[in-house]
Point group: C2
Chain length 198, copies 2
């Protein structure tokens, strides 16, 4: 287990700052596993049921969907350092996953199996709270995203992406950004051109 030490302690610290007591955290020690992903490897595959909740030590992942007819890919979300990663809809409902989750750069993840997590939920009030906070955070993330689509232009969303998530912005090609913003490559080019003009 000694090779997980640093990463586990990072997670302990982050959960601790969200209110988790060390003793409660210790309950989970046997369950966390560390995995290295090479760029291009998948955290979760289409049609699998997502069985693990991951915690990104470092790296960038994209969660995307493929149109069965056209083969076209569309990015739903990105995950990066110190975020929890899962195909969360599939994970919560334990239904077949509609997404792929792919490492965009070499990445490192601590992950836990849902059965162990449910065990912790049952054993410990603190872990139940952890589950609540992960869910609330995921909600917030997606909510902000939806608000973007409703209330903002693609140009606004592009600018925000650049400002608020520079590490993601720099790690992935522009056509993935375009997809995430809900537009096509050429449209993003036009937006970028418009922006330098002013």
């Amino acid at each position: 287990m000694s090779e997980n030490k640093t990463e586990i302690e990072l997670l302990r610290k982050i959960l601790g700052s969200a209110g988790m007591k060390p003793e409660a955290f210790d309950l989970s020690l046997p369950y966390w596993k560390l995995k290295q992903y090479k760029k291009g490897e998948f955290y979760n595959e289409y049609k699998n049921v997502c069985k693990h909740l991951g915690f990104v030590i470092n790296g960038v992942f994209r969660i995307y969907r493929v149109n069965n007819d056209t083969g076209e890919e569309k990015n739903m979300l990105f995950f990066t350092d110190h975020q929890f990663v899962a195909s969360y809809k599939s994970f919560l409902a334990q239904t077949a996953c509609e997404y792929y989750t792919e490492a965009m750069v070499d990445s490192l993840i601590l992950y836990i199996h849902i059965d162990h997590l449910n065990e912790l939920y049952g054993q410990s009030h603190q872990w139940e709270r952890f589950g609540r906070i992960v869910a609330e955070t995921a909600f917030h993330e997606v909510m902000v995203n939806t608000e973007g689509f409703l209330f903002k232009t693609p140009e606004d969303r592009y600018r925000e992406m650049m400002e608020k998530h520079p590490n993601i912005f720099n790690a992935v090609p522009l056509y993935h950004i375009a997809s995430y913003l809900g537009i096509q490559g050429p449209s993003l080019s036009r937006i970028r051109k418009r922006m330098v003009g002013r």
Copy 2:
């Protein structure tokens, strides 16, 4: 308290089917309050901090945002029977609300103050679980919404709205539906016209 009896028992039954034990539920009995909303009344106002989690006994609410410059309204979500209602982002973070939440028809709500809810979270593992499930449900709701914007046309979203939420569809004017779908009134008219044509 006797006038809340029926509504409380409905809530007990619904939470029970999500796994809440009656004894745990009983802890909350002193806290739920019942409120009748007339059509047009507000559950939550812009710039308030949302302090209550509501449970819709019956009725329809819309949560919407107003553009400060143009005064234009855009609908974010609808809530109806047996759903939990809150300006959830504001509720979770206890920050000033960016939305209005308005009753679209005469409605009845059971609500609980966040302080009492936090008390229950602290007292009871079961209630902590309740909080997790509410958050997970809210996540799922918003996620499906975002997926709609990314992967579906306004026409698809309109058709789904009609099929899956007929009670909402029938309770609110079309221009509110249009707003929820992210389009303008005339566009919805064009879509409807296209649809009868085929």
